[in-house]
Symmetry: D3
Subunit: 321 residues, 6 copies
């Protein structure tokens, strides 16, 4: 698939989900490299940079996308010939795709070890990796029980309880307000992440920080499951994760809203759980404390401070644009 | 209205709301006294006790009902003649009704003083007295703004925002999960109470304790508005407030629920906010710290430990039954 | 029994335990009154005051003793004749004895209501009233389980587990260091008290404050069971409860200690749990928050600030001595 | 001295200090009663009420003044004749003056018992009663050491260290910023109060809440010394204590301030220490936990909710004005 | 000594103590390499792997053993010839042994710098490195005092106080329950570690987490002394440290236990202190915050995520078995 | 400038400020290298080491100085010829100077991203980098407001408010005691650092830890701005940062002090803010959580544990002296 097609599909949300977007971008770069007719490394580099920029522009706030592009583009760095550069791109793209595909399984394998026989687990929202940990524990024969929240306003909790029900796991369904009421029955909180910042804060579905706060009050451990490409490199530069605020109609139907002129709906999609409320982040590279986010970004995602461009000139970004 | 009629209406929920139930019971006892043809104080006392028992049996877990009945019945205590006894009942019934009717206004007057010009307030659920405090502050010309929650599963938040909208107060509407996200913008939390226990814990709509917990974390004060008849006398005896668990179908439609055999809906209607998360309880007798609940029960509601019956014999209750 | 005999037995520890000492003193005062041949109220008052002083001198640091003596002696206050004064003493002595005897049963009845079916309870040391609450809950048919500590250095835990074992209650025995390890399995901590101060602090067997501290960290409630005569009136005067430090040989045999010249054994018998770590104190007058200690001392024990003597003159004490 | 003279002196700050103001008002009312030529109780009552209003108007935000006036005026309540009314006023005025004069001594006697031999104490600002506790402990022969703060912007700490120096007490002088640095060396914090609210919050010199906050972090007890007339009755009505903001020139000389047009000096004179940061308030009526403020206001200061006037009519205040 | 002999001695606990076991294993591998007659690197590698597996099997839950074996076996990695491989093993074995031997001294040198003249220190259990820090500080002429706990049920505190006594250090001996009572007198807590997990949690003798919890409450720093080979690499994989539960007879003699059929002794040997209760871990590689455990495991112990085998296949372990 | 001149100027405080000292030292080493006539690498190395020692001796407790010297001297390490060694020194000296000069700008660029439009910021003392972050945010058009403290005893707050005033930023000036009173109005605390220890503790102007403590209580984020050369490498060795105690006359004029023989002024210049009170440290290498200090010291400052010398021999220090 050529880059522009992939870019289109990402933009139109035909390709979605942090993992799928990242893998599609890596594959598009690989295909672009293979089909390039550039004669010099310089022109090859320019072609690839252009392709990378096209992909990055589709979702300016996504975290997995720049991580994928950066990882693949690093394959070009030390190449002396076009052939070496192509090979570098292809190798790293394949590596990224494989590693991303295995990431969920590995996280499930690592994370399920933190779930003990007899545990009651609470989860919030509908995270593939968080559920994978829980289901893996169940498959290992551990007798577990889950409390899952409703997750207003989009009710992702319904998908979660269907998945758990189908896996044969005893599940309890509660409204988001009932978290603190049941937290004393809980042994472990397991949630996913949309992004992890350089100081270990976890950006996830609105309400996650309340779950974690209640857990900490009751001395219940909080485990976050997250692929390494969820770690947000630009937070090293002090950049803040932008919390998307979605349409008010998700919460209050427009026909009611328009009868209430003094009322505004506020509908942030995510909240931020501080690092000190998280006991462990389980990645495919192992379980780490949240404060290790910087090392993940630098050592596994391979970002170096210099690569971000010069913050002083007002420019920046992956490709110096 | 004769006692059996009132009792019926309370049972069938034609009369509802803690205040209305309490006042109706007081009035029924007064009418019963006035129409009594008892010749001796002894027979009058028996008649009245029977009436009181009938009323108490309609809602065994309500808190305002035994408080009202107890207050009115105390009028009989020191009477030597039937006339005196009747007069005692009537006087105390009238007093209770008047005091109950004024309670909301007085609480609004006291509570609004804790709201300062420019304050942003958060409220949860739909409490008449809590809203009365907020609206009183607005009427005093203070510029205020409110954050109101959705209050799943029965969405009482919708009624709250309509009331606030109609009062002309700038209001924000958020899902219950977003409380902690906005708490840093809040200056004061104002909520009502279904019951207050002897150690100052506040029983209120599910989610209240999460709001209070988030407030405490961010050093935001929490004010509870509650008429004194919300204070639960039998908690002095170590009795626990029973937390009602309502039908699961409020949260998950039955047609979905039956497709999910491993899933149970848990739907507690209330939660318990510990006294240390509450800064002040505003009653019609003044503003008090939650630890003063015992004094309210003893000195204003007039309960004495002996009146509860002998806990050792297994009996107990207001009328020795 | 005449006063001097009772005083001797208390001194020689033939009579011991806070309750038994208090009741013996009350009875001695009653007997003294009945056998008095005083002709005037003045001389009767003098006789009785002397008897009271004799009793108080036997255990200068006990808390139950001055409470009992004060309660009985109050019977003399408003008497105009010797007969009235005698009757006052006798009535109040009988009342105190009966009330004290029933106190444990009443506390058990109140306290057991806080224990729910299925609860796991932790207790520390060997408190008659705390165990009475637990056993009452068990007798009411609630399925409960207990964790009891060893209670070094005198191993009172052994008595506790024997009592629980004989009552047929599933019990776990742990060293004092293991409290925090098991606290997540606990639903309620139940302990007794040696004294309760005016600001609600609980003086109890060394280690109690560690148990409460671990409980608070894990959001586990802490219930203290204590007869009202455990409340220490003189703490209103700012007087501190003296923490007894016992012989080092309880911890380290003297033959070892003498080989270790640089080592000192420190062996305080009690520690102080701050009021904010205690959710409820269950007395025979009902369950109260710890901050209500002042009201218990003033309204139930009947102490008034004036009665303590003039702190400025350096005198003080019950009888102005 | 006639009432108008006293009122003038209070207004012109010739009479100042919470205690002196309160006593002067009591004496003025007494003198006014003695010199009255009223023929009927009704006219006497009117004269006295007018005098009380004159005094109250001198310092509308003071706390000790309404307490004193209220206490004295209560002497008129149950009088049937002018003579009885006069006697009532005189008796209560004398009682108030004596009790107020002895209050500091009694508080010192109670409070010094909380200071142990070898203790290091921290104090903030210059409170007569707080220092009285410290000096009493020193006089009892306890070896103590004090850390005193500078107390910007008016440097009251200088007066404190002179007093302590003259008493022969080893004293350390530190800037306000150094409190947390030295808190680990401290055994007890002792401060005064300008006002105590119904929920036990302590209003005192700016910085007090920081000292208490640092103390709580390090598990150091905080003792507040305060005469009962410092307890603010109208906070029962939800009334907030107004925090006075003083001239910016106390902090920044005007000649500098005027060169800095973008700079505003904020200079609040007091701050509010929440009840949970205070272990004990020592009054002349005994040591109490802060949550007992309500009982002090009701039982010792003698305020009843009805006396405040009807909050609903917008009126209120001591004399219904 | 040949590998099987060493393995036997470790199994039979003739060789014991984390450090001694680790060094014996390293030496056995070195001897095995030197005596090998393998002709190819492949056969040498197989021989060595077999030896390593034999050693690892002796103590499946020890932490120092796999660390030592892993460090030595890394010497084989980049070897092209048998000679190079042998040299690699020998060099790394010698390095490990030397470094391990010096570790205690280096930790004492680093750790003693955190002990100031005049400090009072609390320690729990009997840790060689923790005591080395304390004794080093004493030898440097700092005047220090120590509180040591009894450490039930095996009373290791007795060994600790003997060591401290012999070193001439002023020591206090307390029961485990008295930790919180004395914590206000303490300036620094110093303990050892049995294992440190990837998120900085410290596994140590039961009761350690209670000491740390009390310290944190009173703002007392907690320093853990631990050689780097105490850091548990497999916790990166989400593996939990297994807490050994020892025989109940250590706590309660069997002859008593059998008379108490409803009583179970629970006797966990260790507990887990969370990272946020630890201020510093002092290793022979320097002092680090607990969150740095991951870096120690990766950069000093040299573990890489790939080396643990494939968690997905169910295999894993050092040698891919 | 020759080394001895620079050393003199640093000693005489003609050159001062952590950054300027560091750069001057780097330049002096560069000039020394360029003017060297050493014929062998060995003699060159000796010359340079001597120069380094001269510079280090000027300020034994500074943190930036050894960092600068160490960074430049590393240029000599792998040189085989004198020319290579000289080039190594020159290159690294130039790099250090440039990087140091740009550090403030980069930190301002990173840090200002954490300041949002509409934020109210609190700062304490007069930190160049902290103010640079604030001013950068203002220049980016964000509407911000600042609260600045007085900073007794040397009133550095005056310089701060002048700088902010001149930058056109709305500023509030408060005494140090008023921090907690205003913290609820604050969105972000921004301070500088004199040193950062290996476990992320921040050493800064006395009072900083109180500001951070108040911020944490109110859930306000704390951002520290610090160049990497502020990180203290020797804290890895367990070395404590020495807190300078300055002349008492800064706080209390000597003529007053001498009249108060029992009073001692305590005047520590700095305090220590624990890592858990700091959300982020912004360095020129990016924003990091405080726990990453170890990685900064090792990976950016380039210190290795071996370089500090052998702690066991009592020696140590940069040059093995």
């Amino acid at each position: 698939m050529i880059v522009s097609e992939t870019a289109d599909k990402i933009k139109r949300m035909e390709i979605r989900g942090a993992g799928r977007i990242a893998r599609a971008a890596a594959e598009a770069l690989r295909d672009n490299a293979l089909s390039s007719r550039a004669a010099t490394t310089e022109s090859f580099r320019m072609e690839m940079t252009q392709a990378a920029d096209t992909l990055l522009a589709t979702r300016p706030t996504a975290v997995s996308l720049p991580n994928a592009v950066h990882m693949v583009m690093a394959g070009i760095k030390k190449a002396f010939t076009v052939e070496e550069a192509k090979a570098g791109i292809v190798t790293r793209a394949d590596e990224f795709v494989t590693s991303s595909q295995h990431a969920v399984e590995r996280i499930a394998a690592f994370g399920s070890r933190h779930i003990r026989d007899g545990d009651t687990i609470m989860t919030h929202c509908n995270s593939e990796v968080a559920l994978a940990c829980i289901i893996a524990a169940h498959r290992e024969g551990k007798e577990i029980e889950v409390f899952a929240t409703e997750v207003r306003p989009r009710n992702q909790g319904l998908i979660t309880i269907k998945t758990l029900n189908d896996a044969g796991i005893k599940t309890n369904f509660i409204v988001d307000s009932a978290v603190r009421s049941f937290i004393s029955d809980i042994d472990l909180v397991v949630v996913g992440a949309d992004a992890v910042t350089v100081n270990g804060a976890v950006v996830n579905k609105i309400g996650t920080s309340q779950v974690a706060h209640a857990a900490v009050e009751a001395r219940v451990n909080v485990m976050v499951a997250a692929e390494t490409y969820k770690f947000a490199p630009r937070t090293i530069l002090g950049e803040l994760i932008k919390i998307e605020e979605r349409a008010g109609s998700e919460v209050l139907p427009d026909e009611i809203a328009k009868t209430l002129p003094n009322v505004t709906v506020r509908n942030p999609a995510f909240d931020v759980t501080p690092a000190e409320y998280v006991d462990l982040i389980v990645t495919e590279k192992g379980a780490i404390p949240p404060q290790m986010a910087y090392v993940i970004i630098r050592d596994y995602l391979g970002w170096e401070i210099g690569e971000f461009g010069d913050p002083l000139s007002g420019t920046g970004g992956l490709n110096g644009s």
